[in-house]
């Protein structure tokens, strides 16, 4: 019923979510949420105003009225003791809801306090409460309740109080997960550096994060408490002197054959209440998750704004001496490529448009730009591996005479790996942590090249040695988390070239690496590219990397190429304002600041003189 995984992701989601006020507003505009809230309000109101809604007493038995059908006197009939069913239902709501609320309150108080203390201060209290949680969750709640009522006798309040204790891990785990996540957040560190004490940090930064998920969890716990309470009473182990939904169910079950409707009323009440509580929780979770996924949407919106950009001619530089030396055949010709994402409302948001480029065998073509410029989208579209909802909306991707934009998925599978290969940015997340490095290298070779397991293993070991891994056999047998980031990136490069591709697409292949490792990986890529005579598309934001390895460069902004040409032409004679601004922002060749002058104020003049060219480009112009 309570799973830690969901709890953690919930905690995570809420952390990134907006403030509480806007969340409650959104709950009222969410149709499911609104229906659930209205129905729950009706149930509660009918319980509160029960004496106004019926003139019967819920406990007055009448032999004369036993199992009376629906009539004016008994709108919902009468039960096996002749008590009015409607009155019992309405007054029963009072007891059932109050009992569940008691369980909820107890579990929330224990769970939230314990979670805050264990999560924030940790140490022995942490281990102790983890142990207790494990103990509480080891036994089914109903078994514990049965055991308790065997010694304590039937008391609804007592059993709901005990159930509250049993359910406290639901809150404990949630709060604990939130607190440990928040505690390591930079903004909590910043608050501490700002001079905030622990209690203020908990109140301001942690409780605000826990609030919404705790309400969700509360709705779930309330539903479970209602169900378990009804279950106990249905078994005949409840307090039969007070009207509750569960005792009505018990009564109805006994008379099931003679008056089946008596089973319907309490069932409907329990069912509606539980479903509404779950729907409420789900709607709230949806709203939380929606607000937490904002960043990616923002990125897309930024990109779709790009599509509205005026079509402007691409600054094209002619080939120079160096670029004319590359004489390999043309591998790839992308023409007027556009990439779009389908939006829920049916329209398409365009993230890349009018992109044209070519790659020759033996050539490295750099795609350079800032975040959101569409360079990675372009790379993925060539592989036809765009995320869900993304597709090529215009243009052609001609590779060895075939337009990849229109080719079937089956045909694309034969091209990927064997003809066009891919090196990703983040080495660790691009290896499957559940399989050994070796099996992840062998599997594609067996599928794409049809090698036997033995052949593929030999080839994988040779490749690992080629990419500079000191002990290929050990790395082959290792799991990804057992190797360093630099090693993992070499493994990914080995995987990319394992099926002898003609074109390599490298998406920021060194961005996640340290500079010394980056230099080694660039050397490796250069060596492999020359050795296997591949064409290569290199996506990067780093002009140093471009200068190091690229023969040709295309500068991208807002989903379009603004300038393209041989690498030296771009660095020496940039024509587009944007390219000039980017090159101007590079600090490489700027002067060092020099030692601190004795008087701090005298710095002002020389510092202004030393500021780089970037100073005269406004930030707005670059966006």
């Amino acid at each position: 019923m309570i799973d830690s995984q969901a709890t953690e992701s919930l905690a995570e989601a809420s952390q990134r979510s907006a403030s509480h006020a806007s969340l409650s507003k959104r709950m009222l505009t969410n149709p499911t949420g609104l229906v659930a809230i209205v129905l729950l309000a009706l149930v509660v109101l009918s319980a509160v105003f029960a004496p106004l809604l019926t003139s019967h007493d819920p406990n007055t038995a009448s032999l004369h009225d036993v199992l009376d059908p629906i009539s004016g006197a008994h709108p919902l009939g009468a039960d096996s003791s002749g008590r009015d069913e409607l009155a019992r239902l309405l007054f029963g709501s009072r007891f059932s809801l109050a009992g569940a609320a008691l369980a909820l309150a107890i579990s929330a108080v224990i769970g939230v306090t314990g979670g805050l203390i264990a999560g924030y201060y940790g140490k022995w209290f942490d281990s102790l409460s983890q142990w207790l949680t494990g103990l509480l969750m080891a036994l089914p709640g109903i078994v514990v309740l049965l055991a308790a009522s065997s010694v304590l006798g039937p008391s609804m309040w007592m059993s709901m109080a005990i159930f509250g204790v049993i359910m406290s891990p639901a809150f404990f785990r949630l709060v604990y997960a939130s607190v440990t996540a928040v505690r390591s957040e930079l903004y909590v560190d910043a608050a501490r550096v700002s001079g905030l004490g622990d209690s203020r940090i908990i109140a301001r930064h942690i409780l605000t994060v826990v609030r919404a998920p705790a309400i969700i969890q509360g709705a779930m716990v309330m539903g479970i408490a209602i169900a378990i309470q009804a279950g106990l009473e249905f078994l005949g182990l409840g307090d039969m002197t007070i009207p509750t939904w569960g005792s009505m169910l018990n009564d109805g079950f006994v008379s099931m054959y003679r008056a089946p409707l008596l089973l319907l009323w309490p069932s409907a009440m329990i069912g509606i209440t539980c479903v509404c509580l779950t729907l409420f929780a789900n709607a709230m979770r949806d709203e939380l998750e929606r607000s937490s996924t904002k960043p990616s949407r923002r990125r897309r919106r930024a990109a779709s704004r790009a599509a509205a950009f005026e079509h402007e001619p691409v600054e094209r530089h002619d080939d120079d001496e160096r670029s004319r030396e590359i004489t390999g055949e043309e591998l790839l010709r992308v023409t007027d490529l556009a990439v779009g994402y389908d939006k829920p409302d049916g329209s398409v948001s365009t993230v890349v448009s009018d992109v044209s480029l070519t790659v020759q065998r033996g050539e490295v073509h750099g795609l350079v730009g800032e975040s959101g410029s569409g360079k990675t989208q372009t790379a993925w579209s060539i592989l036809r591996l765009l995320p869900d909802g993304g597709r090529v909306t215009n243009g052609s991707i001609v590779f060895e005479g075939e337009d990849l934009a229109g080719v079937s998925e089956k045909a694309m599978q034969r091209i990927r790996g064997k003809k066009i290969a891919y090196i990703p940015q983040e080495p660790m997340s691009n290896l499957d942590a559940s399989f050994t490095i070796g099996s992840q290298l062998v599997e594609p070779m067996r599928v794409s090249l049809g090698l036997s397991k033995k052949e593929a293993t030999e080839r994988a070991l040779a490749l690992l040695a080629r990419v500079g891994i000191p002990e290929p056999k050990r790395t082959f047998a290792a799991y990804p988390h057992e190797v360093s980031g630099g090693m993992a990136q070499r493994v990914l490069i080995a995987g990319a070239v394992s099926c002898d591709p003609d074109l390599l697409i490298a998406d920021e292949p060194t961005t996640a690496l340290d500079v010394t490792v980056q230099a080694e990986v660039l050397d490796l890529l250069r060596g492999l590219q020359a050795e296997m005579n591949m064409g290569m598309i290199l996506v990067t934001h780093n002009f140093g990397v471009v200068a190091d390895i690229c023969d040709r460069v295309s500068v991208m902004r807002n989903g379009r190429i603004v300038e393209t040409g041989p690498v030296r032409a771009i660095f020496r004679q940039p024509r587009h304002e944007y390219t000039k601004a980017l090159l101007g922002a590079i600090l490489d060749e700027g002067p060092a600041r020099g030692p601190l002058a004795s008087g701090v104020t005298s710095q002002t003049t020389d510092a202004a003189a030393a500021s780089p060219a970037a100073g005269n480009v406004s930030e707005g112009a670059l966006k």
Partner: protein, 313 residues
């Protein structure tokens, strides 16, 4: 791997010890004047004192407990106060019935929820929405309401199944199947809903991982990646939920057995509880705890097999 198993076994044993101690203390201390409760209000003070002496209730609690524990370790959990039947026999004669229900429901839950979850995660669109909707309903409606609904529709109205009773698996397989089908479905619905949601969520998460794109970039098909890599990575969280569901199912069985008049542990539990038969209640708590510990051990082993990080740490 052996170290891993041994560690789990030890922590399971510690858990059992703790549960038995705590429940013994609470049950025997909380029970008040036990001899009086057994004999009723009409008995004289002398007969009550004699009864207490016979049961050993006049000794200090610690002595009583160590006595109980040493017997328990040799498999003797005492006798029922009301029927005089040994607790061990009362439980072992019923445990198979309950386990067949609960394990059947767990199996059904695992198969259907994985299928539904993967289907919803991979296809998305309307399939996803329908599965989501059914999951919410199945999760929200208490299991015993579903059981009542099944009885009324399939047993009383359609007459496809008998509403009550139980046939032993060893006596007649079709008979057994006919009697357990409805209870197993009633038990499984909630679990299916919960686990399917979890499977769907973790498959969607796993599909978004970078390595999926990288593996596909080497020429593997989407299906191959889903069934080999994604499912294995989504398996861990799904198993965790399944183990929680199992604990829930054991509890749910108590009520479902009552509705379908199945002679399992649940029936014993309800009778023992209403009579205040403490040795029997104690035995039931212990039996449940043992089952839970064993199932958790199995799940832990499966987790270790799925996820190398768990195994190696």
């Amino acid at each position: 791997m052996i170290k891993f198993i041994v560690r789990r076994l030890i922590s399971g044993a510690v858990l059992l010890f703790l549960i038995s101690t705590i429940s013994y203390v609470l049950l025997y201390l909380g029970g008040g004047d036990i001899a009086r409760r057994i004999l009723g209000q009409t008995a004289t003070a002398q007969t009550v004192a004699d009864k207490a002496h016979v049961l050993g209730l006049d000794r200090p609690l610690f002595v009583q407990y160590s006595d109980w524990l040493s017997h328990a370790l040799s498999g003797n959990l005492g006798e029922s106060w009301f029927t005089g039947q040994p607790v061990t026999i009362a439980i072992t004669s019923r445990v198979a019935v309950t386990l067949s229900l609960v394990l059947g429901a767990t199996l059904l839950t695992a198969v259907i929820s994985i299928a539904l979850g993967v289907w919803a995660a991979v296809r998305r669109g309307w399939v996803d929405r329908v599965v989501q909707f059914i999951s919410v309903l199945g999760f929200a409606v208490p299991g015993f309401l579903i059981a009542l609904g099944l009885v009324i529709v399939f047993a009383l109205n359609l007459r496809w199944f008998k509403p009550t009773g139980y046939v032993n698996l060893t006596d007649s397989f079709p008979g057994w199947l006919a009697t357990v089908t409805l209870p197993v479905i009633a038990l499984a619905v909630g679990g299916i809903a919960g686990v399917a949601q979890q499977v769907r969520g973790s498959v969607i998460d796993a599909l978004r991982q970078d390595y999926v794109r990288t593996l596909r970039s080497r020429g593997l098909s989407q299906n191959r990646v889903v069934f080999k890599h994604v499912l294995r990575n989504a398996g861990g969280p799904a198993l965790a939920v399944l183990s929680l569901q199992f604990v829930g199912l054991l509890g749910g069985a108590v009520i479902v057995e009552q509705i379908f008049a199945i002679p399992g542990l649940g029936q014993v539990a309800v009778t023992a509880t209403s009579q205040g038969d403490i040795p029997l209640v104690m035995g039931l708590v212990l039996a449940t705890a043992i089952i839970v510990v064993i199932v958790n051990l199995v799940i832990d082993l499966l987790q270790g097999w799925l996820n190398p990080k768990v195994r190696l740490s």
